[in-house]
């Protein structure tokens, strides 16, 4: 069944309605652990975007050939291949980025967001739709990570993108990975609040 959304709507959907971090509650591991700075969030977001788009397109291309009984292993194989490819390419051509992202690139394989999206969307939709949906999901993920990174970097280190903004470190606590838990929880509550206010305004 083909989706009735336009390409732009797919992208926006990925960022807002079905934001993987705040709405779908998927891929929490990086959200909590790596969103310590805006740059980290940005770089991992780009990596996930790439893997998501490539995997979605590959699966959408082959969706008629994949046997339903082995679809999960096939998804995993596709994701693993693309992750390995991006890992090697990054190590070869962008070593500074790779030095920071190393272990997390390898973990992308287990990110639930990608597998789930392949199962829910790419295996049923056309290549074109999967491409734009992949972009939307990737952007949504990046947006979520950068938002978290913004709060944590500013409050934890007093810097933004490495530039000293506040000149002192307000609460070192935010830099510790565990603050990610608190930040994500608070952000989600914030999103919920906005949604409630929005719904109330619509009704009124």
């Amino acid at each position: 069944m083909a989706t009735d959304k336009t390409n732009l709507q797919l992208v926006v959907n990925g960022i807002l309605n079905e934001n993987p971090i705040f709405r779908l509650v998927l891929s929490m591991c990086p959200a909590v652990g790596i969103s310590t700075t805006v740059m980290n969030g940005f770089m991992l977001g780009i990596a996930v975007l790439f893997v998501q788009v490539c995997s979605s397109c590959t699966i959408a291309l082959f969706k008629n050939v994949i046997h339903p009984r082995i679809r999960i292993p096939t998804y995993t194989l596709t994701i693993a291949t693309w992750v390995t490819v991006i890992d090697m390419v990054l190590a070869a051509y962008l070593p500074e980025a790779y030095a920071k992202m190393g272990i997390f690139i390898k973990l992308i394989v287990a990110f639930a967001i990608i597998t789930m999206r392949l199962e829910m969307f790419a295996s049923k939709e056309s290549v074109n739709a999967s491409f734009w949906d992949g972009i939307g999901m990737g952007l949504g993920f990046m947006f979520g990570m950068m938002a978290l990174g913004f709060v944590r970097e500013l409050l934890g280190m007093g810097t933004l993108l490495g530039y000293d903004v506040l000149g002192f470190k307000p609460l070192l606590f935010f830099v510790l990975p565990l603050a990610g838990f608190f930040c994500v929880g608070l952000m989600m509550a914030f999103f919920n609040y906005i949604e409630i206010v929005y719904k109330r305004a619509k009704r009124a």
Partner: protein
């Protein structure tokens, strides 16, 4: 039955396809990856010696790699050094544990391959004879300027608060510390991870060998002027002022990081051990090189 066969067939095809893609990308990118790692190491080492993009190393500066191995086992254990010779070939010098010269064996190895353990270790094993067990210990880089020794670079790894800390230490020809660079660590961010910051690392700069041998960590706050000198790029102090302040604090102990005493101690003890062991071993190696008239470029 047919179902299972189809499944197996499709799965195998998928695996082969994936393997093909990855293998191709691997072959295409592996060289570039290794090159990047090498370039990064070179950059770090040059910056430790005081050179940078603005102040590049002159042509007369050369780096010579010496690899240390443990040969044999039990009572017959000995230390072996793979030395580059002036004519570009390599020689493996075996020295017993008491410091006495044992043997000098030429090793057939191409200069570019010396940096790769997969090529180097088998070449040495072939030259020595297959029956001696060979274990790689560590690497030292001797830096010369116009043939005279100016510095030593020692990559090393020592235990930290959490797992290990990997570092490169630069010593001058009298074994005073030229600089310390932390390459990898798993310390806590904001606490132990501050060992990579200038105000900790640069405390080691300029300390002479005798001070380093007895170096301890003190838990008092860093004096204001010393902090300014250590972070000269931020505070904007002139080179002469920095040098004079550093000279003042040269024989002091290391000021610990706030909330990271154990990490500070780990680094200090690690550096201490590295310097002591290196000075001891180099004295023996130099004596053997002089006695045996080995034609090393340093």
């Amino acid at each position: 039955m047919k179902d299972i066969l189809t499944i197996i067939f499709r799965l195998t095809v998928a695996c082969l396809l994936a393997g093909l893609v990855m293998g191709t990308v691997f072959i295409a990118t592996n060289k570039a990856k290794k090159h990047n790692i090498h370039v990064n190491e070179q950059k770090v080492m040059l910056s430790l010696l005081g050179y940078s993009a603005k102040n590049p190393a002159p042509e007369s500066v050369a780096m010579h790699e010496v690899y240390r191995y443990l040969v044999g086992e039990g009572e017959a254990m000995a230390m072996g050094y793979l030395l580059p010779l002036r004519d570009g070939s390599f020689s493996f010098v075996t020295i017993d544990l008491a410091g006495g010269f044992v043997a000098q064996t030429p090793v057939a190895l191409a200069a570019e391959k010396a940096g790769e353990p997969e090529a180097r270790t088998p070449a040495i094993a072939a030259a020595l004879g297959a029956d001696k067990p060979l274990r790689y210990a560590d690497q030292t880089i001797v830096v010369t300027d116009g043939g005279k020794r100016t510095a030593y670079l020692l990559p090393g790894k020592f235990p930290g608060f959490k797992t290990f800390i990997g570092a490169i230490l630069a010593l001058d020809q009298n074994f005073s510390i030229l600089g310390l660079e932390i390459m990898e660590h798993e310390e806590d961010p904001g606490l132990g991870a501050e060992i990579v910051q200038g105000y900790f690392k640069n405390q080691f700069k300029g300390k002479p060998l005798e001070t380093v041998k007895k170096l301890e960590v003190v838990k008092t706050p860093l004096p204001e002027e010393y902090l300014k000198a250590l972070e000269a790029e931020k505070s904007g102090l002139g080179a002469e002022e920095v040098a004079s302040i550093q000279k003042q604090y040269q024989d002091n102990d290391i000021y610990a990081l706030t909330g990271a005493t154990i990490s500070s101690r780990s680094v200090t003890n690690g550096v201490k051990a590295m310097v002591k062991k290196f000075a001891y071993r180099l004295a023996i190696l130099d004596r053997v090189i002089a006695e045996q008239h080995i034609a090393t470029p340093f």
